[in-house]
């Protein structure tokens, strides 16, 4: 049994603590981010969308979530 397992992650440069977050899928849900238009990198490795629900995050992971913004 696991109680109060907080995961500490660095997401887009911000340190965040989350409960009940195990996978990238969970993290995107927690942050209310739709997976369709983003790309995710964990510790400099790009994670395929198909693996979002199976890729398990670990305490201290550096996660980058990017999307498209205005640019030339």
């Amino acid at each position: 049994m696991r109680f109060f397992v907080f995961m500490r992650l660095i997401v887009n440069g911000e340190e965040i603590e989350k409960l009940h977050v195990e996978t990238i899928h969970d993290l995107l849900n927690e942050l209310h981010i739709e997976k369709g238009r983003v790309a995710v990198e964990v510790n400099l490795t790009i994670i395929k969308k198909a693996d979002y629900s199976t890729f398990t995050l670990s305490d201290g992971d550096k996660v980058e979530i990017v999307n498209f913004v205005g640019g030339g």
Binding site: N12, R37, F68
Partner: protein
């Protein structure tokens, strides 16, 4: 008239490509893109704002089903960064196109062509449709083609400078040297600049600041649309040779 631009099987109905940076808001971006008549827009790859999740997204205004999305690697100064941004852009799952930038100098934003060549080769092998932003150098342009570029995007002048086509002769040589599309990227300041690029025979022109930075971006977008069409038509029509002296337009016969 069937005059479509095709790059690696992708059909572009417009020869004016537009950027989406520097607009005052997404509404203005959308209106300018619509006024330009363009079907391809460039975008940048940046972190999602995870603090303010209510903030709107560009793609809520520019529908990827309606427009071809051309992500760039703006702001990348190393091959490694350019590869990272390109791969992230592709993984976002909206486009396999990449406007590849490896910048070599902060003040001029001129490309680092050595790095650009390396990154082009790697990404083309990975299957991306690579459109490198390059100098107006015909030798480098040819090397980029050999490295697998799908089109080359030589600058008219530095990004955002509005100086126009500073070296039309080099652009002409690039056009004569390559057998893939050439798209002038950067430097176009006003409608006549876009026309000049198209009259030279360029396949398309990419404009961001020239539109977004105008006093009335929506009107300038429309001006650029006509300028590109006019330049393309003039190129295909074949201009008259320049002469030093006059040749009368009206007949001598029948004069009193």
């Amino acid at each position: 008239m069937d005059d479509k631009l095709i790059i690696k099987g992708i059909e572009f109905k417009s020869r004016l490509w537009v950027g989406t940076g520097k607009y005052k808001d997404f509404e203005e971006t959308k209106r300018a893109v619509e006024a330009s008549g363009s079907d391809v827009v460039t975008v940048a790859v940046r972190r999602v704002n995870i603090i303010d999740r209510k903030s709107e997204n560009l793609l809520d205004y520019i529908d990827p089903k309606k427009y071809k999305i051309l992500p760039n690697t703006a702001g990348c100064y190393t091959v490694e960064d350019a590869l990272r941004y390109s791969r992230l852009a592709r993984e976002a799952g909206i486009s396999d196109l990449i406007k590849l930038e490896v910048i070599g100098d902060e003040k001029t934003l001129f490309p680092d062509v050595c790095g650009l060549l390396k990154a082009t080769e790697i990404l083309a092998k990975e299957g991306l449709i690579v459109l490198p932003y390059t100098n107006d150098d015909p030798v480098i342009a040819k090397r980029l083609v050999d490295a697998g570029a799908a089109a080359v995007m030589p600058l008219g002048a530095p990004i955002g400078s509005g100086l126009g086509i500073r070296n039309p002769y080099n652009i002409k040589i690039i056009l004569e040297t390559l057998n893939i599309p050439v798209i002038v990227d950067a430097g176009v300041g006003t409608a006549s600049d876009a026309t000049i690029a198209m009259e030279l025979g360029c396949d398309a022109v990419l404009i961001n600041t020239g539109i977004a930075g105008a006093k009335d971006p929506i009107a300038m977008a429309e001006a650029m649309k006509h300028a590109v069409i006019a330049g393309r038509l003039a190129y295909k029509a074949g201009r008259i040779p320049k002469r030093l002296y006059a040749t009368a337009s009206s007949p001598i016969e029948g004069m009193l």
